[in-house]
Amino acid sequence: MSSLHEWALAEAVISAALDVARRENAEGVLEINIVVGELQTIDLEIFRSALESLKEGTIAEAAKINLIHEEPCFRCNVCGYEWCIRDLEEEMSEHEIESVHFIPELVHVFVSCPKCGRHDFEITRGRGVYVASIRVKKK
């Protein structure tokens, strides 16, 4: 799997952080807390490196980046069963993992409820990348 998708995600995160800082009229971004759902199989090293590189020369340059891991968990809409996936390679092929890497909702195509076999379930946690919080320094 190529790592370039991580750059796209990192770009979006830094754009979001800078937008928040601008709206808060902040002089700098101190901390960015990012949840990384493991369903998206992000290469954390590349993702962190992209974040560090992209924040250079911006008011987020000194920001501390915290990556918070989340195991992917699900709840079946049909029978109510709840489960988590620890090892994606046991559940999906390489192609399927790559498809889910790009669009996590496609897990519904490749995975079904272990109890009733239906594909109608919620991703309760660990879906993908989102910014949990940003701490800024006010002017």
Binding site: S2, W7, E11, A12, S15, I103, L106, A132
Partner: protein, 244 residues
């Protein structure tokens, strides 16, 4: 919680000059066929063209244009697949022939993710083949790309017209851009669609007769270029893109 993906979408389409969406409240009126053939017409007229198939449950543009199996090339996201000089993106390479049982909110999430990772090049036109209806995909495009120009496709069937009229009313009242109506699969003389266009103060772009031989051209761009649909769309291109 901040959804950073939304920030990525604007960047992905920043080099796209115009976005044309093929919409209809109703399914089976020929949106995918017109989106695909219009992309060929635009390309042949010298424009830089992208085609986005947003029908996650039933993507069809790859079938119409004869695009075989392919994988996306990654370049700060994914680069569209190039076919007949057209930049093409669809969910098909990811799901292939599997069924796609997604609820509305999952479709919306998937569309947001997809739009935030497709790295379109410098395009004059991005043509979007929309799924039928006015649910998540339609509302997401209005939300993320509000300056989209809508081409409304309908057949002259009474079964389609009432739903299409609602869509037109919505677009008009909400002040979105309507480029006009394409009447497709016309089998008999009738001014029912023209009257609808007049009612919502838009133009009837063209009337495309039903082509019983179209099926034979599906999957073959050279053959698609010889169809009446191609000829009609080519002739009316200035009207379609509002340059008449």
């Amino acid at each position: 919680m901040i959804d950073a993906r939304i920030y990525g979408i604007a960047k992905r389409i920043q080099n796209v000059r115009r976005v044309l969406s093929m919409v209809s409240g109703k399914g089976g009126v020929g949106k995918s066929t017109i989106a695909s053939i219009l992309s060929l017409v635009l390309k042949d007229a010298g424009y830089r063209v992208g085609l986005l198939d947003l029908d996650f449950h039933g993507p069809a543009c790859h079938i119409i244009l004869g695009i075989g199996k392919f994988q996306y090339h990654e370049e700060h996201g994914i680069r569209p697949h190039i076919h007949e000089g057209i930049e093409f993106a669809s969910i098909y390479p990811f799901v292939q022939d599997n069924y796609v049982p997604l609820r509305g909110r999952d479709i919306s999430n998937a569309i947001t993710e997809f739009l935030s990772i497709i790295n379109w090049g410098d395009l004059d036109f991005l043509v979007i083949d929309m799924p039928p209806g006015m649910s998540d995909p339609f509302l997401d495009i209005l939300r993320y790309i509000p300056n989209t120009e809508h081409i409304v496709i309908t057949t002259p069937s009474k079964l389609a017209l009432q739903t299409v009229a609602r869509l037109l009313l919505f677009l008009r009242e909400q002040k979105y851009r309507i480029m006009g109506i394409i009447e497709n699969m016309k089998t008999y003389e009738s001014n029912i669609v023209r009257k609808l266009a007049e009612k919502v103060d838009t133009k009837l772009i063209c009337e495309i007769p039903y082509d019983g031989n179209l099926e034979e051209s599906i999957g073959n761009p050279a053959s698609l270029r010889k169809t009446d649909i191609y000829k009609e769309l080519k002739e009316k291109l200035p009207r379609i893109i509002g340059e008449e």
